[in-house]
Structure formats: C-alpha cells, structure tokens
C-alpha cells in the first residue's frame, strides 16, 4: 500500500466536507495516495507474491493487470510489470472491468490454468485514481483511494482455490457510473488530460450493486451446494459500508464473517478485494490470509486444475 494517508480532515481543507459528513455517509475515515506509478505499485506487490509462492519471475507464464488506472494504454501495463519483474516468459494482459477487474482476472486466470493454457499466473488488482479524480466533487473525491495487490495462482491436483464464479454485467445502468475525460471519445474535444467529470448516481448504484452482488453470491453458493452458514468468510468489494451491510443482510451472512476495510482504505476499485483482505482468519481450521512473515499485499492462492 502507498504510505501517504489522506484523512477526511485533509479533504475538508479544500472540499465542503467534514469527518462527520464523510464517515456518516460512507464509513470511510482515510485512504491512501500513491507517490509512484501504477506499474511500480504492481511490481512491488507482484514480487512479494512471487516470494510467498517460492517462484522465480522467469517461471511466470501469465500476468493479468486488473484495473482502470493505466500509466499508458500503449504499451499496455502488464508488459511494464513483466519488465519490472524480469518475467520474460510471461504473457501480459490488461483487463478492465472497473472495480471487478481483479475478480474477473482471477476467474480468467483460473480458467486458463484449468484448460492447460498456462501453468501459473500473477493476477494484479491496482488503482491510481488520485491522478484523475475530480477533486472538486465531494460526492466522489471522498470515496476513492490508491493501492495494489497481487496473487499467484498455480496449477494443483487438489480441489482448492477458486471453485466457482458468477460473472455478469447490468449494462442498462452503465450511465450511473461514468468517468468523463478518459477514452477515445474525448479526443479532439479540447479536454485537458487529467480533467474528469464523474457521473455518479449513488442511489441507482446502491440498489443495483446490492441486488447484483447478493444474487451472484446466492447463485455461486447454490451452484456448488454451499449454504450461507457454511461460508467462513466474505471478502466484498469495499465501495461503501452501507452496501456491504446490505449485501450481507440479503445473503444472510453475519457481519462477523465479512471483511471490512473501507474505513481505512476507502474504495480502491480493482485493488480493493485483494489488498487488505488477507488478514489472519481461521477458516475451517486453516489460517486464511496473509501470514505475518509475508510482506504486505502479497498472498499465495493455489487453484485447482481440472482436466
């Protein structure tokens, strides 16, 4: 995680907000701001994940860079991570499904391992939103932070890792969350790069997100014969404490089983799920999460290979 901490009081030095205003609406108290590039963040997280896995960079077969914050579009960001690591044999993919980019990357890499396309993969979730945030809009400026995390997936003969997934897209609501100013449609329109306006319909996002996540969770559990009470831990996207609480309620999972880091790190988009989620947790007799001797933001996540 980037070390620089932006507090709610810092934000109120240039926005019409207060710690109470932000905390009561979002549950957030602070977030991180990066002083380095997204590729630099990703390279450090990936190197630590590789060390945890006991792997050499030269043995990496695939790098998936998940996120919406690209230092450049051409060349792609995953190639920059490959270069920084020395993972010269790795394929390098940028994957953007916004905040779900890490999870989609995890599903993609797992599928590629299961089908035998690759033996292993690094999956990164990273964001550097502070560089293009509309810092004049308190409705979004208080929400987001920077960060990165990486996991290593390896082929395994055991049934472990990502057992199942439900992926989807509610495109009818795509206009409810838009960052204006990034993309080809703004070329030739005299837009200064870095200037953005955010379309952010919080009520629509809340309703759609809660329904989509609760429904997807119910489906993935049902598809694999898992009941809610059998789930040991929920690692949700940390967009807003109210959304997390609502999803847990709909999925009938007590909040004691739900990881909540939103108050310390805000919404790091694609970096949210993998980053601060891997704390010490006893799950089914196993220690789930980042061991203390492992450097932060790194975790080994083996996955089943089903041929």
């Amino acid at each position: 995680m980037p070390p620089a901490v932006l507090t709610n009081d810092d934000l109120s030095s240039f926005l019409d907000t207060s710690d109470e205003w932000t905390t009561s609406r979002t549950g957030m108290r602070e977030r991180r701001i990066s002083h380095v590039s997204a590729i630099d963040l990703s390279a450090v997280a990936s190197a630590r994940a590789l060390a945890c896995a006991g792997m050499e960079a030269a043995d990496v077969a695939l790098i998936i860079y998940g996120g919406v914050s690209n230092d450049e579009l051409v060349p792609n960001s995953a190639s920059g991570v490959q270069l920084a690591l020395g993972a010269t044999k790795a394929a390098a993919i940028d994957l953007n499904t916004a905040c779900t980019s890490f999870c989609y990357g995890l599903a993609t890499a797992t599928a590629m391992i299961r089908t035998g396309m690759v033996r292993n993969a690094i999956v990164i979730g990273v964001e550097l939103i502070s560089r293009y945030m509309d810092w004049s809009n308190r409705n979004v400026a208080v929400l987001f932070g920077d960060g990165a995390a990486a996991v290593v997936l390896q082929a395994s003969d055991h049934e472990e890792g990502m057992l199942g997934s439900v992926l989807g897209c509610d495109a009818e609501a795509r206009q409810s969350l838009r960052v204006r100013g990034i993309g080809c449609t703004y070329a030739g329109r005299d837009v200064n790069f870095g200037d953005t306006l955010w379309d952010f319909d919080g009520q629509v996002i809340f309703k759609r997100a809660v329904h989509a996540m609760a429904d997807a969770s119910t489906r993935v559990m049902r598809d694999h014969g898992i009941r809610a009470e059998q789930v040991d831990l929920v690692v949700p996207h940390q967009a807003n404490l109210r959304i997390i609480e609502a999803v847990a309620k709909y999925a009938q999972i007590p909040m004691e089983k739900v990881i909540v880091t939103v108050q310390k790190y805000g919404n790091m988009s694609a970096a949210t799920v993998p980053s601060r989620s891997w704390k010490r947790w006893k799950v089914g007799g196993l220690l789930l999460g980042r061991p203390s001797s492992c450097r932060r933001s790194a975790v080994v996540l083996p996955t089943a290979r089903c041929l």
Partner: protein, 118 residues
Amino acid sequence: MPAFGGGLTYCSLLVKWGSRVTPLGTSDRELPPCTETALELVNEVRATQDPHGRSLRGLMAPVFVESPFATETVSGRSVSSRRDALALFFDEQSAQDLPRRRLGDRLDELHLAHLLVR
C-alpha cells in the same frame, strides 16, 4: 468474493483455501520513500485540473451508446439527431453551423450512424 464496478459489472467468486498457508519466501522489494504528504500529492494534481472550466464543453459533448436520440428532448426542444443535440449544446442555430472538421464531430457522426443502423 462479491464485487461490482462501472458497467455495471458484477461477480461473486467461491474460493477454498489451500492446504499450505505459510509463505515459502519473502521479498525485500519496497516502494521508494515518500517525501510528501498525501495532501501535498493531491494538491499537486488539483493544481493542474480545471474540469469545470477549459475542459467542460469537451467533457460534456459526447453522447453515448445508451442515449436514444430519436426520442430525446434537449432544453425543451425535440432533437432527432446527434448533431441537433450538439448544436443545442454549442448554442448554434443549426447543425450545419457546427464546425465540420473537428475530430470529435466526426466521431459523433460515426456514432450517430451506428445508432441509426441499430
């Protein structure tokens, strides 16, 4: 692992932890030291931004795939095309008064054609 994002994409993953939960090694790789506060970093970005000034028109000009122009009303006037809407936005008398050579306008024409085909 339930998550959602712009799009609106969503997902939920079912993960089972493996038998090995201890690291096989550690890395000394670190980020370089940060010599500025977070507020200083943010203020550096803010100093370069002007989204509500110089960039506003360009940021608001695009019309997106989900916008049904055939039935759109802009500022109380019915518009039947993307260019009509742009003309209203740019305070022009008609679509013909819009600059014809701007790349953004050309992209709009292409986008309108795409919408009509659909």
